[in-house]
């Protein structure tokens, strides 16, 4: 007899699961498919729902299982439809669609225990598919719920009797809760592998992204109503004032007069982006949401610290690879600075304006040049022009036709940051001052619940930079000249103001503040949402951004001086073994508290045992009392009474007064 045969011979046989198991499996399957119905084609979700219902009726109302050819026909038909829908077999979305089909059709044809098992495992894969769509905290909770349900289903599949579904559910929950400490250990210590094992499909990442690295009229406006979070920032020290929070993403200096893009030339070979800091460094950590591009937002002006971060043209930071995952990086910035001189090449492409200016613009510029020749003064002139002339800030400006610059400056005079910044840069370039457009975010919302800053897509902003002799590149925000509320109060305040019908730019800051001061209800709601965001932020740090670097930092924190792959594995295995032993010691060999009645009776027996009357393990209380009385007739009364009371308390009517009485009697029992 071979060993494998010997082992197989003692494996418990498979059980044929009952209706209860099947119904719980259907609930798990419905939950797993339900997550995907947001992005699956409607007909497919409907099909899966129908198939699950069909199985429900087969199981509970004695419908017949469809013959094999029907199942094959359904499989082929739906597979064909899916491949037509997506046009490909590969990728996340078609993968999930096929999995949905497989799960529902497998459940339809279930015959044996093995079929059930396969269906549960397919549900796991479907759950995996869900995680590729979202990794949020809510998805995590959903995953937990589904795992509890599938574990419960596995228990029911394995041994339906004599467990009720309640007991089985409790056991499933217990298993999952007991697994949590292990999960934590393995999750934190299992060595993370950097990079993909093989190529990712085209649709591996959701299409959502922030700003594109190209700005044409309207591209920032698009983000104004997007309340999703762009990034979160934790400051190491004090938080800089709101009007200093200019988050630089990228710098645009090439234009065709309308659209702006990054400088396409080879640059001037500058690799050394140095500047002289005028204020001490501000340290902070950015937790960036994936935007599928390379730019990394940083406060003006950053000093690069991390690996995999480059400084590119215009002191902007860029990642080596596109940001597909939540990314955390530490930075320091200097809020006041002086950049060095400009090379001829740089000057040339920063004063280039491709369109011939209109008459009106030329005369405006001439007017400015007549009063002064200093570039700094011209900048002030321009800002005064935007401030004094009736320019309005609006999130829904009229469209600009023809000579956009001329129309905006003289006719419509309504726009938002992008219009003002690009018009300002145009005016500066036409005046011979090197200028460029900077795109990024301004301000942010302070989350008091988590002590960090939330910067949303709606905080997107564009401003200008001009190069002035002696100062270097200087930030000029013409929007501030038109609508100071934008800078002081933030983009959301601006939206609230315009929603209330206030004309932006006309109110004083304190008036505006009063106008948008939240009601207590709104205030409470805001606090709640801050708290929720703080939890989400922590989730992002520990789930989405937890990679090798964070892992090594953690290992350093728990006392490993030179963390490496091997030591992490050893620590993990040791911790797993330790916690399993701990669990088995605490839980497996735990005894329930002994019944006080039994305890007292045992005390009574011990007293008799000391007198040479030991109770045999198999001896019942009545037999024991009979034998005791035979041997010690003098103890007849107390023994009979205690035995009778014991039997009454244990098997008959229990009350605490009786128990007290019993206790007194046992305590008083003495053997002379």
């Amino acid at each position: 007899m071979s060993i494998s045969f010997a082992l197989g011979a003692v494996r418990p046989p498979d059980q044929m699961p009952d209706r209860l198991a099947c119904n719980w499996m259907l609930i798990s399957a419905a939950l797993a498919v339900g997550f995907h119905c947001f992005h699956l084609p409607v007909w497919l979700s409907g099909f899966a729902a129908c198939i699950l219902l069909w199985r429900f009726f087969i199981e509970n109302h004695a419908w017949r299982v469809p013959p094999r050819w029907v199942r094959w026909f359904l499989l082929l038909l739906t597979a064909l439809l899916v491949s037509k829908q997506y046009g490909t077999l590969l990728g996340r979305d078609p993968g999930v669609a096929y999995l949905t089909l497989l799960v529902s059709l497998k459940i339809l044809e279930i015959r044996s225990c093995r079929d059930y098992l396969l269906a549960v495992f397919l549900i796991y894969l479907l759950l995996l598919g869900a995680l590729l769509f979202s990794q949020s905290l809510l998805t995590g909770l959903y995953m937990g719920l589904l795992i509890v349900l599938t574990t419960h289903t596995l228990i029911l599949l394995n041994r339906p009797q004599p467990l009720t579904y309640r007991q089985s559910l409790r056991l499933g929950l217990t298993l999952c809760l007991q697994a949590l400490p292990l999960l934590l250990i393995i999750y934190l210590l299992f060595p993370r592998i950097q990079g993909s094992l093989w190529g990712l499909p085209q649709d591996a990442f959701s299409a959502r992204s922030g700003m594109s690295e190209q700005v044409s009229p309207g591209s920032i406006n698009r983000l104004y109503n997007d309340d999703s979070i762009a990034f979160r920032v934790t400051f190491a020290g004090e938080r800089p004032p709101q009007h200093d929070l200019y988050w630089r993403a990228f710098v645009l200096s090439d234009t065709d007069g309308r659209a702006w893009q990054r400088h396409q030339g080879t640059g001037d070979g500058r690799t050394n982006w140095r500047y002289r800091a005028k204020t001490p460094a501000v340290g902070y950590t950015v937790l960036l949401q994936p935007h599928q591009q390379r730019w990394l937002p940083a406060l003006d002006l950053p000093a690069p610290l991390q690996r995999n971060v480059r400084m590119i043209e215009g002191y902007a930071l860029a990642a080596v690879t596109p940001v597909h995952y939540v990314r955390r990086y530490h930075l320091t910035s200097h809020l006041r600075y002086t950049t060095g001189p400009l090379s001829a090449n740089e000057t040339a492409h920063n004063i280039h304006w491709p369109i011939k200016p209109s008459e009106r613009i030329t005369s405006l510029l001439q007017e400015w040049h007549q009063t002064t020749s200093s570039p700094a003064e011209i900048v002030r002139q321009a800002l005064r022009f935007f401030n004094k002339q009736p320019f309005y800030y609006s999130l829904t400006p009229p469209l600009l036709y023809g000579d956009a610059l001329d129309t905006f400056i003289f006719d419509t005079r309504i726009g938002y940051c992008e219009h003002y910044a690009s018009a300002f840069v145009a005016l500066m370039r036409l005046s011979g001052i090197p200028a460029r457009l900077v795109v990024g975010y301004q301000g942010g919302e302070w989350n008091a619940a988590g002590d960090y800053m939330i910067v949303r897509q709606s905080d997107a902003h564009a401003w200008a930079e001009v190069w002035l002799q002696g100062e270097g590149w200087a930030r000029i925000d013409p929007t501030a000249a038109v609508a100071p509320e934008r800078i002081e109060l933030g983009a959301s305040a601006l939206r609230q103001l315009s929603a209330q019908g206030a004309t932006i730019g006309q109110l004083s800051i304190s008036d505006a503040k009063r106008l948008i001061s939240p009601s207590w209800l709104r205030h409470a709601w805001q606090h709640l949402s801050w708290r929720w965001d703080a939890i989400n932020s922590g989730w992002n740090v520990w789930v989405m951004d937890y990679g090798r670097e964070a892992q090594f930092q953690l290992l350093k924190k728990i006392g490993m001086e030179t963390p490496n792959w091997l030591s992490a594995v050893i620590a993990m295995i040791a911790a797993i073994i330790f916690s399993l032993l701990l669990l088995s010691a605490l839980w497996m060999h735990r005894r329930k508290k002994q019944d006080p009645v039994v305890k007292l009776y045992n005390k009574f027996c011990n007293k008799l045992a000391k007198a040479g009357l030991a109770r045999a393990p198999t001896e019942g209380p009545l037999d024991f009392s009979r034998r005791s009385i035979q041997e010690r007739a003098d103890l007849r009364d107390p023994v009979l009474r205690i035995t009778a009371e014991y039997i009454e308390l244990r098997y008959g009517y229990f009350s605490s007064t009786r128990l007290n009485h019993f206790r007194q009697r046992v305590t008083a029992f003495r053997i002379p």
Binding site: L7, A9, V10, R11, P12, P13, D14, R114, L117, F121, Y124, L125, L127, L128, L131, L132, Q135, G140, M143, G144, I147, T151, L154, I155, L157, N158, R159, Q161, P162, L163, L171, L175, C176, A179, L182, L183, I186, Y187, F190, R192, I193, G195, S196, W198, L200, A204, Y325, W542, V543, M544, D545, Y546, G547, I576, L580, L583, S584, W587, R591, K592
Partner: protein, 299 residues
């Protein structure tokens, strides 16, 4: 024998292997997509499997298994070993499977309770039949792995009587004790009185009326021609030792069934005339162990 860590082993089931495969797939996907939550899913499933090992072990651990006894059987039948499994602890044991010589049986045990199982073991030959090693196993709760115990051995043996076979009728030999006028038997025509019931008396001779009036079990006795006695002798049989023993066994069964008195004589051994359950089993035991090396009857 109380099952504990030293006697329990564990291995994955086929479903457990499949589960491992699925776990690998999920793990590779989480590495490839660098998906933190998918890592968490992998490790959560792994942790659940690890914890369920403890549950599986706990489900069998601490059970006290004892082989109690086994009634004698004739060769060719199956011996029913009575096994008691006791759960001394206060939690339920679910889906315990007992394996013994190709037979398996599933049972559940409520907290602090015990069950008695009858395990059939085929008994092809006469003589002593030891209880084959027992193993307990369980795949509860998830069925991903199963634990099984080391073989539980026991000294309990069953006695297997020879198969009652043979075509010879009861020998009408000239025994001096053939007619026993003084003796009374339960056979015959004339009612001759009552005596106390002895196990093995035919039920049709029980004095049921007396039972109905709450008296002890009494057996009616009859006197007459039917009160016969037989000497079952080795010399009267033919063939090999085994077929002789089978024939003798057959006679014993026949004689006992007909409530005759019988004695048995084998080379070098004689069992006096008697009847009743004790005598019957004594004769059969002698036949069962005849000529076997370890056949010395205990006690």
């Amino acid at each position: 024998m109380v099952l504990n860590r030293r006697q329990l082993y564990m291995l994955p089931t086929r479903h457990g292997l499949l589960f491992t495969l699925v776990l690998m797939v999920i793990f590779l996907a989480s590495v490839n997509y660098n998906n933190g939550l998918a890592y968490a899913l992998t490790f959560l499933l792994l942790s659940i499997a690890l914890v369920s090992m403890l549950h599986t072990h706990r489900n069998v651990s601490g059970l006290a298994v004892e082989v109690l006894s086994c009634l004698p059987v004739f060769a060719g039948d199956s011996a029913q070993f009575r096994v008691s499994v006791q759960n001394p602890l206060d939690f339920i044991r679910v889906g315990i499977c007992v394996f013994c010589a190709g037979h398996r049986q599933i049972f559940h045990l409520h907290p602090s309770s015990s069950v008695q199982l009858e395990i059939p073991v085929s008994a092809p030959h006469r003589g002593y039949l030891s209880c084959p090693p027992l193993r307990l196993s369980s795949a509860y709760p998830l069925g991903l792995q199963y634990t099984w115990s080391a073989p539980i051995k026991t000294a309990v043996r069953a006695i297997v009587y020879p198969a009652p076979k043979g075509d010879l009728p009861l020998p009408h030999n000239n025994s001096p004790d053939r007619f026993m006028p003084s003796g009374l038997s339960t056979d015959g025509d004339d009612f001759a009185g009552l005596r106390e019931y002895v196990t093995g008396d035919p039920p049709r001779h029980v004095h049921w009326k007396a039972v109905a009036t709450h008296q002890a079990l009494l057996t009616k006795q009859f006197a007459g021609e039917g009160d016969r006695a037989y000497w079952l002798r080795w010399e009267d049989t033919t063939g090999s030792t085994e077929s002789r023993l089978s024939q003798l066994c057959h006679w014993v069964v026949m004689a006992e069934r007909a409530s005759f008195r019988y004695g048995m004589s084998l080379p070098g051994m004689q069992l006096p005339l008697d009847r009743g359950s004790r005598h019957y089993h004594r004769c059969l035991k002698v036949l069962a162990l005849w000529g076997l090396e370890d056949g010395a009857p205990d006690q």
